[in-house]
């Protein structure tokens, strides 16, 4: 199967073994492609993964730790072909990841997102509430992951309403207006998980909005708000109880990998689309762990052409729960994300502590 076929074929319809055969062929050629075009990738792949040049499964391919994109710009295209540089929002004090896109890869990203979203939204644009400040996208020069994600999602909606004012408070009267006009038919709500929870749900819980025709897509996790985080089922129950909203889709993805957009199924697990996959590795041995066991998530996608991002080891913990389980009508792996790998305490007599305090 070509990349085109993987994109075109109904998403979540390919059994895992068939999918792995297709991904392996594509990943092998991408590995060779990037080794030829990105000297840094070739060097890391050959030195960190000696003997991995004839992989028998996607798990055998060289992968880059996602943190490397914070330290280096890795590119497989000449500077003249760079169409856009994506930057992760990055937590304070850290340099953001930088990812180089050419036109082809950017278009693949758009197509991929569209194939996934239309799977749950249907083919038509829906009226859309953005749980964001209106001024977020005014300055298009600061093109970080948050903006990029928002702009990408806006394509699936129409009659956009920014739900928050510049102080991140809900624009209640505008929301009521929107719902009066569009609330009787399906509409889309999009936002980042922690904003949706803290600035939208919590502030509006008492207002009594009817969101029962809404489809909420949210992503981004809890970031620095781990202490305020709620479980997926609490999140769902809270929305259902106070707003009637039942169609909720979390998605997991990262700026560093084009094409890894993992949408939640109705069962609360994430599912990789046809052109991407996850592999869960033991953080110590880096070997793939058996299904059901928690480890570090590697994300795999056949879309990155302009930079060697086809296999990336994330800093997130997760586990694969089922493969080809028909429970929610999706083939492939069902997995969960259990949050960031906890930051470990350092010992020794160097300056690590001062660095943490200052």
């Amino acid at each position: 199967m070509t990349v085109d076929e993987l994109l075109q074929k109904a998403q979540y319809s390919i059994p895992q073994s068939e999918k792995e055969t297709a991904l392996l062929a594509e990943l092998r050629s991408l590995d060779r492609y990037h080794r030829e075009r990105c000297a840094d990738y070739a060097r890391v792949a050959s030195i960190l993964f000696p003997g991995h040049d004839d992989p028998a499964s996607p798990a055998d391919l060289p992968y880059l730790p996602v943190g490397l994109f914070k330290k280096r710009v890795l590119s497989s295209v000449p500077p003249s072909e760079i169409f856009r540089v994506l930057r992760s929002s990055g937590t304070s004090g850290q340099s953001p990841s930088q990812v180089v896109l050419d036109l082809e890869t950017a278009q693949l990203q758009t197509r991929a997102l569209s194939r996934i979203m239309t799977h749950v939204l249907g083919p038509r644009r829906l009226p859309m509430i953005l749980v964001e400040q209106a001024d977020l996208v005014k300055d298009r020069r600061t093109f970080n992951a948050r903006t990029a994600g928002l702009l990408g999602m806006m394509n699936f909606g129409r009659n956009h309403l920014y739900a928050l004012d510049s102080e991140l408070n809900p624009r209640t009267s505008e929301l009521k207006e929107f719902l009066k006009e569009h609330g009787k038919r399906p509409f889309l709500i999009f936002g980042f998980t922690f904003l949706v929870w803290t600035r939208f749900y919590r502030q509006l819980a008492s207002v009594g909005l009817d969101l029962s025709n809404g489809i909420l897509v949210h992503s981004g996790g809890w970031k620095n708000l781990q202490d305020q985080s709620v479980t997926a089922s609490d999140f769902r129950a809270a929305f259902r109880g106070t707003t009637g909203l039942t169609r909720i889709y979390n998605f997991y993805g990262m700026v560093e990998q084009v094409g890894s957009i993992f949408l939640e199924g109705e069962d609360g697990y994430f599912y990789p689309p046809n052109f991407a996959d996850v592999i869960v590795r033991d953080p110590h041995t880096l070997e793939e762990v058996p299904h059901g066991q928690t480890g570090v998530i590697e994300v795999v996608s056949v879309l990155p052409r302009s930079y060697p991002g086809q296999c990336l080891l994330t800093e997130d913990l997760g586990a694969v729960y089922a493969v080809d389980s028909p429970a929610c009508g999706r083939m492939g792996k069902a997995f969960s994300v259990l949050g960031r790998i906890p930051h470990a305490e350092l010992r020794g007599c160097s300056d690590v502590i001062a660095a943490q305090v200052n």
Binding site: L48, P342, R347, G348, C349, D351, A354
Partner: protein
């Protein structure tokens, strides 16, 4: 402003009260019996404590301050005496130990207390379980000690505020700073009294050197033992101690060096497994990111990985920047002989743990460096063993004033 007084345990006290707390104690003569007993007592308390016994670094400390060792130090001290010099304590010593090496505050205190000084130790509010445990045992030992040792040590706790550091600095005769370069710089914002002096123990880098020919002559069993000693050097304190080896040098011809390394590191990996050393998952990931960057920044030609052990082989030491993630990552390089190392060394380089070299070879190496780098050469297995000679200082001397004494009848000037 207030700070917490941990020893004696009196809770929050005002900065202005600190001088009176300090004045409850007084300096003692060098190697006063009360100080010797307090040290020996602490050693016993650690060894008898069920919980403390679980921490190898606490046991190592207990071993180092045991009665026999203190008496050995006393004997060494007496060898320093000369007719025209009398050693006396400096007065009050202000210790700023690193938070992240739990046992350091006692090592720092010990030599100063034996020299007869009064001591103030600053601890951070964030302390590990083993530090708190050691602090409790330390308090118990002092509480039962005789005077003047009993009342001549204060332990205070505060964050990174300047005011208490300034207050305590103004009261001290010696200030001892353990920690990174940034810590030293930030504490130096508090100006020392004109007569006072300072000892700093900033960021250091350490390495291990093997003479390949000597290694290859070892028996199977000896190689196992050597790997185990190396494991202790490197993996206690998660390879973040200033004397933890981070770079391994194989001195000999290239094929033999390659063979020795290929034999040695799997044995270290086996120690890691046998001793159940486990790194937090986040640190494992940091190591992987570090390895990938190192491959791009340095002349690394190979990477070997075992669980919790990564070995990056360098073609040369040129441009080697000494940035290090800790947690069981080693750079290695091949040199024909130890003298070849000299040009690559810097002031920052502290300990060379060595195996298989002649005395002459190592002495010549020290002369070749002539003080430019390396403060300590010890056998593999003793990297973390603290001693009176540290970072180029003799701490027994540093904590004393040297009083010149001449009572001969006046002589005509020469």
């Amino acid at each position: 402003m207030e700070v917490e007084l941990l020893l004696p345990p009196r809770g929050m006290v005002k900065l202005e009260e600190l001088p009176s707390w300090l004045d409850r104690g007084r300096p003692a003569p060098c190697f006063h019996a009360s100080a010797i007993s307090a040290c020996a007592d602490l050693s016993l308390r650690i060894m008898r404590d069920q919980e403390a016994r679980r921490y190898p670094e606490l046991l190592a400390l207990a071993f180092w301050i045991r009665k026999a060792e203190i008496h050995r130090l006393k004997k060494e001290f007496s060898l320093l005496s000369r007719p025209d010099r009398i050693l006396v304590p400096r007065g009050t010593v202000f210790h700023l130990p690193p938070r992240n090496v739990d046992t350091m505050f006692v090592y720092s205190w010990l030599l100063s207390a034996l020299a007869g000084n009064r001591n103030v130790i600053r601890l951070s509010p964030q302390r590990s379980a083993s530090t708190n445990l050691l602090l409790r045992l330390f308090g118990e030992a002092l509480e039962t000690a005789a005077e003047p040792a009993r009342s001549s040590t204060l332990v205070v706790c505060y964050g990174h505020e300047d005011a208490p550091t300034m207050a305590l600095t103004s009261l001290c005769d010696v200030r001892v700073i353990w920690g990174g370069d940034d810590t030293v710089a930030s504490i130096r914002r508090s100006v020392l009294p004109p007569h006072a002096r300072e000892l700093t123990f900033p960021d250091r880098y350490s390495m291990a050197a093997f003479r390949v020919a000597s290694y290859l002559r070892l028996s199977e069993k000896e190689r196992e033992q050597l790997a185990d000693r190396f494991f202790k050097d490197a993996f206690w304190f998660d390879q973040l101690g200033c004397s933890s080896p981070r770079l391994v040098l194989w001195c000999g011809d290239a094929p033999s060096a390659h063979g020795a390394s290929a034999d040695f590191f799997p044995r270290v990996a086996a120690c890691v497994r046998r001793r159940g050393y486990a790194l937090a998952a986040g640190r494992s990931m940091q190591k992987l990111v570090f390895s990938a960057s190192a491959v791009l920044d340095l002349p690394v030609n190979s990477c070997r990985r075992w669980p919790e052990l990564t070995v990056l082989t360098l073609d040369s030491l040129s441009g080697f920047d000494r940035v290090h993630p800790g947690g069981g990552l080693f750079f290695e390089a091949n040199l024909r002989c130890i003298a070849e190392l000299a040009s690559a060394l810097r002031r920052k380089d502290q300990t060379l743990t060595s195996f298989g070299f002649d005395d002459e070879e190592l002495r010549a190496f020290i002369q070749l460096l002539n003080g430019r780098a390396i403060d300590r050469i010890v056998p593999i297995g003793q990297a973390l063993q603290f001693g009176r000679f540290w970072d180029g200082n003799d701490l027994l001397i540093e904590f004393c004033r040297q009083i010149y004494f001449d009572n001969l009848p006046a002589r005509p000037a020469a």
